[in-house]
Symmetry: C3
Subunit: 113 residues, 3 copies
Amino acid sequence: MPDNNFEYGVVLTTVSSEEQGKAIAKSLLNEKLAACISIFPLQSLYTWQGEMNQDREWQLIIKTRLDLLSELKTKIQSLHDYEVPEIIALPIVDGSKSYLQWLGSNTTSDLSS
Amino acid sequence: MPDNNFEYGVVLTTVSSEEQGKAIAKSLLNEKLAACISIFPLQSLYTWQGEMNQDREWQLIIKTRLDLLSELKTKIQSLHDYEVPEIIALPIVDGSKSYLQWLGSNTTSDLSS
Amino acid sequence: MPDNNFEYGVVLTTVSSEEQGKAIAKSLLNEKLAACISIFPLQSLYTWQGEMNQDREWQLIIKTRLDLLSELKTKIQSLHDYEVPEIIALPIVDGSKSYLQWLGSNTTSDLSS
């Protein structure tokens, strides 16, 4: 799948509560797997085992480096209460130089530290 | 326009009411043109026929396969009450394998069924 | 950084108040640096000078042409109250032809006018 020669990206995941969202966000920030994470409430409609469902969820918008995605997936899956959490990465193709430098300097990989 | 060799994507559209948003979402899910659709309120500022407008809208975040985009556009346009609805696709460049497999298995094209 | 051979895109920035968000949005629309801007509240968690912060912010989703990004960055930075505002561009890889034509005809560059 990786179609990914982009340095930075926005990773989306949804959670079932604000508390879990903030717990995941703080853990990712503490481990420098993301530099900034936004969170807001929404409703999700989806098909699960053939049934349509409608749940209140919280969306996380995780701004990070895409070379950290593998560690980020592992960390989210370890903290998430869903069996198959949404974890999808959208590419940042351009942006303010100072912001992207800040994003880069506030993220690091355990593998490289 | 299609710049699109990405398998999965996030399609954005806005609607004027929560009811219409949910009606479009349920129709797309029933026809397996999307696997998960999130919806939340926002305000939109835009220029229409030279005038600036500010409306309360609802944003749909449609998670799907980008080879379904043509059918998805037709379905949204048939249900939408705007003359020119926003329908834009952002590429998913990477993500959790299990989630993307679930996304793929919960979407299908009428053309292929 | 520019990884950007995409014509259209969604530019994200966050601001500290709804008023500032709308002021920036109206300025971008007046100068035809964007055709439509959505705004909604969220919470952001981030690291700044080694400290974790949690603020209420407003997210702007700016729909525009990516060849305007340099002017757009300059305009946002001139109006923004942050030292290093988030300004990141996600690519639109496909969409409704009529909407993208509307997007194109409602945006222009000072450099080309």
